[in-house]
Symmetry: C2
Subunit: 169 residues, 2 copies
């Protein structure tokens, strides 16, 4: 795909996330894209992302749905506002709730496709539905309720983040 991933538009402060931050070298670094009115991300679990031998760990599946869901919420909010994702102020979302139904065991060793669509945008809240598939078969479905980080918190959070990073580093 020639599009830039949603996550590659995030300001540095929001790019440390273990699931989707481009600056987190230990993390999953998932990348989400538009595909018409849906969004899609692909991730191939590592051999140690195991539940029982041969199958993917459910916590990883939840993580993929979570990060692809908040990324989708951000992209949809920009689209609804008629804005490009690299314009200020940044529209970023945090997860208020996450629900995952595990429909069948997810095979390990193949790419997983996470697809999402926006079920509702209402004020600062975006509800995202997602599926996770392996080899064309839906293995899990989920819903993310994402809430926009208030603009007035962004500079405060940024300052706090820089302080915390110094403590970590």
């Amino acid at each position: 795909m020639t599009q830039q991933a949603f996550q590659d538009y995030y300001p540095d402060y929001f790019s440390h996330c273990y699931g989707c931050g481009r600056l987190n070298e230990h993390g999953l670094q998932i990348k989400s894209y538009w595909d018409g009115d849906e969004t899609v991300a692909t991730y191939t679990p590592r051999p140690y992302h195991i539940a029982v031998p041969g199958y993917v760990y459910g916590g990883l599946i939840a993580s993929l749905i979570d990060c692809h869901g908040t990324g989708t919420a951000a992209a949809a909010a920009y689209r609804a506002a008629g804005r490009e994702m690299d314009t200020e102020p940044p529209l970023r979302f945090l997860t208020a709730s996450l629900h995952v139904d595990y429909l069948r065991p997810t095979p390990l060793g193949v790419p997983l496709e996470i697809r999402a669509s926006v079920k509702e945008i209402k004020g600062r809240k975006v509800v995202v539905s997602a599926t996770l598939s392996a080899q064309g078969e839906v293995c899990a479905q989920g819903e993310v309720i994402a809430v926009q980080v208030p603009e007035h918190m962004l500079p405060g959070l940024r300052g706090e983040g820089e302080q915390d990073q110094r403590q970590d580093g």
Copy 2:
């Protein structure tokens, strides 16, 4: 605590889980214990388990609730059957659904306490409620619906698992 953790009773086949398997050197290796009628696990996230600077990644929180939930389901099933956890056949549970409400940002750098209780045991299904707290404050609450792996699947799964492990190794 002088108890042995639930996860340390799991047969080897069930001990590769990224969240709680004692044999997964890359994983979280959480340990769950009885505390009266509740269960408890403690986990200190690593610095890279970050959402935004200073706060814990939501996918990790979901993972901790998931694995502590299925561990609690197993322990409760043994207790309900009046059996010790090291008796055969093993009672093991998989997650059918996972729900997490993120109530407030979870601070990074301190131990997290995951507490769970059994809401319902009905047939092969156990519903577990859980909270995740930092410094005495509940940051997330969740529910895990866990379903027992059928006994007749255990030998088949074990065989399949050994084959898959050879492929991985």
